[in-house]
Amino acid sequence: MRRILLIHIILLAGIARLAGQTPEERYSRAGELYGSGDYSGAAAIYRQLWEEGYRSGDLLYNTGNAFFKSGDNASAILFYERAKLLAPADEDIDYNLQIARSRITDRFETVPQLFFVRWFDFLSLLASTNAWAVAAFLMFAASLLLALVFLTKARARGRLLSFWLSLASLILAILMVSLAVRNNSLVNHNRRAVITCSIVTGRSAPGETGNELFVLHSGTTVTVEQELGEYREVRLPDGNKGWIGSSCMEKI
């Protein structure tokens, strides 16, 4: 599956290159369009780049801006959320996301996450999944080396130091592995989704038969809890749950 996707991406990239434009050229072309006021044109190019598999915090941030300016608040929120996963410390993304959120219909009292979860998530997003993974492995290797020193050096003053260093780097390695896993689950297996239909009804059961529970409007961020065919059980920011058709949402 992944291989097919990869081939697809390569093919798309190949077509774009045949058209005589590198991704970087298209990126700056979209920036020019944005500057001249053609927001939907810019959004189309940015989105195309995203679909071809190019990633960067700035790219997603610009995509969100272009969608916002062309009036598509739901897509803007979607891309700002995606951008936040790549650049969690970017304050501009937070600012624009907050403005885009203020323009949507649904209002929720969101319960903030526990501070250590927030910090841990923030820390995990500061580097990419693979950066954390490689760092964790290097730290583990260092821990092993220090352990070898401790175990083989018959008697020396460095013996005790090597023991403590080995222990510390082992703990760091475990932390980095968990950061890598957390980053992977946030970036690649995010369960959150943004509602894209202008209005959609949440029902108590998958299908059209369930009782109507609530009405959502575009731009609202929900968490997908379960999947069944074309339907998704979503959890609203205030904790309520209901089933919505999968065509009405896009995963972050």
């Binding site: 960067s56 624009n96 693979n130 492995f137 083989t152 890598a180």
Partner: protein
């Protein structure tokens, strides 16, 4: 009553020609009437003595009357006196529900005879229209809405200049009266509520005289009751409900005599009464089209053809002195509903809500003036941007963007010189936030990276850890083995140290017999150094006296042994470099070394 007297006189004349008649009862009723419209049923009998029995009217009819009048004519004919009398009974009827009805016959009973009137059929039509009556008008006008409805003597119409308009586009309407009979006045004009429209009356002179107009060959007296302008507010098919009015109709109330049915006598001699009659217009439907989407951002509801201009009171202004910007929208259309243009005045110029005046120059046309009072609060040069104002032109069926000139204002003056003016900005004012927007995009280096497969979700990443662990374990085992082997070599040498030393001493003893003194001493020194190196685990290349003494002291060897060792070593070295036999004999040195090694071997492991 005066008229009635004249009528009496007329009948006196008529009686000259009349002969004695039988008693007859005639009925006069319209063939059709509209539901809710008042009509008359007139019974005439040429007798005054008798009992009139009214017909049984349908239950849905509401009947008023009868209004009864009698006349008596005395005639002299050739000296004979004849008396002709007649009785007229008028019923005013309003039928409630449409349908076909029969008015049954009425009876009149005199002393001699009882007569009956004919039965009459009457068609009650629905809601104000009275069609289907005598096909008087062949080839009726197609534009039925603009001609009076056929079959009625008096009618009223709402005439509109357009039936298909855009929302907001003004429609001029005229409420017009058509009559074929004499009217003495109008009463109780009741307008419908014009649902979905905004109505504006146009000043109309009161109706005093009627004009003559030929419509489909029939002469009507017409008059405009009221003119008005309608502004549709919503789109869709909007129905204008009937307007209602009561007209005062002059009608002859006297007996109808076939010989005197003449307008001349009607006007002068017949008994004329004023009868109120309700008339109503037919409902009119106006098709209102919605304005096309998308609407420009600077569209504020103006529909029509307009022009826009602007003027400013001056290009140079003093600080805190008022300036006036005048924006004039001129043309025809819904001026009243045209909103205020959005002008983004520069910061530093205080703007007040505009004064709006509408000058009308005709039906839905004129000009609307927006007067902005501006007060410069800072010095400098300020640009008042050109005013952009979009209107919808129904003729071109599209939005037209009007532009009026922008201005540059140069504000001079020193702050504070104008005392008593509006409060000046004090230094250190807070930054004013006047809008909110998202932040701009980043146009720097994209630093695009492709999607990477996350390592943590691949098996081989976790195998690296296992591999590293196994590698470390192997290294550890190898290292342990090496240490163990090294330890073994040292132990062997330790154990063999005394034996090696003794064999060297034995060799020295053998050399002693040969008399080679230097070689004996060298061999004794070699035996001692070898022993110390093996026993104390010091490589031969690094061995020195000090190292050996330190190592011996560390192993708690007695000082006397160290002193003895030092003496022997010094002696061997001394004898090596000073061959003259001054010190101990090599044999004694040899035995002392053997004794020392024996003792040392007891204390060292």
């Amino acid at each position: 009553m005066m008229k009635r007297n004249i009528a009496v006189f007329a009948f006196l004349l008529a009686a000259l020609l009349a002969s004695a008649q039988e008693v007859t009862l005639t009925v006069d009723a319209p063939e059709s009437a509209a539901a809710g419209e008042r009509f008359r049923i007139i019974y005439t009998v040429n007798s005054t003595d008798g009992q009139f029995t009214p017909p049984k009217f349908d239950a849905s009819f509401s009947v008023q009357g009868p209004q009864q009048s009698t006349s008596r004519n005395v005639q002299w004919v050739n000296g004979d006196v004849k008396t002709i009398s007649s009785t007229t009974l008028i019923y005013y009827v309003v039928a409630g529900t449409p349908g076909n009805y029969t008015i049954p016959s009425a009876q009149f009973e005199t002393k001699k005879v009882t007569v009956s009137s004919q039965e009459k059929q009457i068609v009650i039509t629905a809601g104000g229209s009275s069609q289907g009556v005598a096909g008087r008008q062949q080839g009726q006008s197609v534009n039925a809405g603009d001609s009076p409805s056929s079959g009625t003597d008096v009618s009223m119409k709402i005439l509109l200049n357009d039936r298909e308009v855009y929302a907001g586009e003004p429609v001029t309407g005229t409420l017009k009266l058509y009559t074929r009979i004499n009217l003495s006045g109008i009463q109780e004009l009741k307008y419908p509520d014009f649902k979905g429209f905004l109505k504006e009356d146009i000043e109309t002179p009161p109706l005093r005289s009627l004009e003559t107009e030929m419509i489909d060959g029939v002469q009507y007296g017409t008059g405009v009751i009221q003119r008005f302008v309608l502004y549709p507010q919503i789109s869709g098919d909007l129905r204008i409900d009937p307007a209602e009015m009561t007209v005062l109709v002059q009608e002859r109330a006297g007996a109808r005599d076939p010989f005197f049915d003449d307008p001349f006598f009607d006007s002068f001699f017949s008994s004329v009464s004023t009868v109120p009659r309700k008339i109503a217009t037919q409902p009119v439907t106006v098709k209102v089209k919605a304005l096309p989407e998308p609407r420009p951002a600077d569209f504020h509801g103006a529909v029509g053809s307009f022009s826009l201009e602007s003027a400013i009171s001056g290009n140079d202004a003093k600080l805190n002195d008022a300036l006036t910007l005048t924006v004039t929208l001129r043309g025809s259309g819904n001026l009243n509903l045209a909103g205020e243009p959005a002008i983004s005045f520069p910061q530093g110029i205080e703007k007040y809500d505009p004064k709006v005046t509408v000058k009308s120059t005709g039906t839905a046309s004129g000009s609307k003036v927006f007067e902005y009072l501006l007060i410069p609060r800072n010095t400098g040069t300020f640009d008042i941007p050109p005013v952009s104002y979009s209107v919808f032109d129904p003729k071109q069926q599209k939005y037209v963007t009007l532009r009026a000139e922008g201005y540059t204002v140069n504000v001079t003056g020193t702050p504070g010189e104008d005392q008593g003016a509006a409060p000046l900005y004090t230094p250190g004012e807070d930054v004013k936030y006047i809008g909110q927007d998202i932040r701009f995009i980043r146009n720097g280096n994209a630093e695009l990276s492709s999607v990477e497969v996350p390592l943590v979700s691949r098996m081989h990443y976790w195998l690296w850890f296992a591999l590293a662990l196994i590698l470390a374990a192997v290294v550890l085992l190898l290292r342990r083995e090496q240490i163990r082997r090294n330890a073994d070599i040292a132990g062997l040498r330790n154990r063999k140290a005394a034996r090696n030393a003794r064999s060297r001493l034995a060799k020295a003893n053998a050399l002693l017999k040969g008399g080679k003194k230097e070689e004996v001493n060298a061999e004794v020194a070699r035996a001692l150094w070898g022993y110390l190196g093996d026993k104390l685990r010091i490589p031969q290349s690094e061995i020195t006296r000090e190292k050996c003494y330190a190592a011996l002291r560390e192993r708690k060897t007695g000082e006397e042994f160290i002193t003895e060792l030092d003496r022997i070593l010094t002696a061997t070295e001394y004898s090596q470099y000073a061959p003259v036999s001054e010190g101990e004999s090599p044999a004694a040195l040899c035995s002392r070394a053997a004794a020392l090694i024996g003792k040392l071997d007891d204390t060292l492991d």
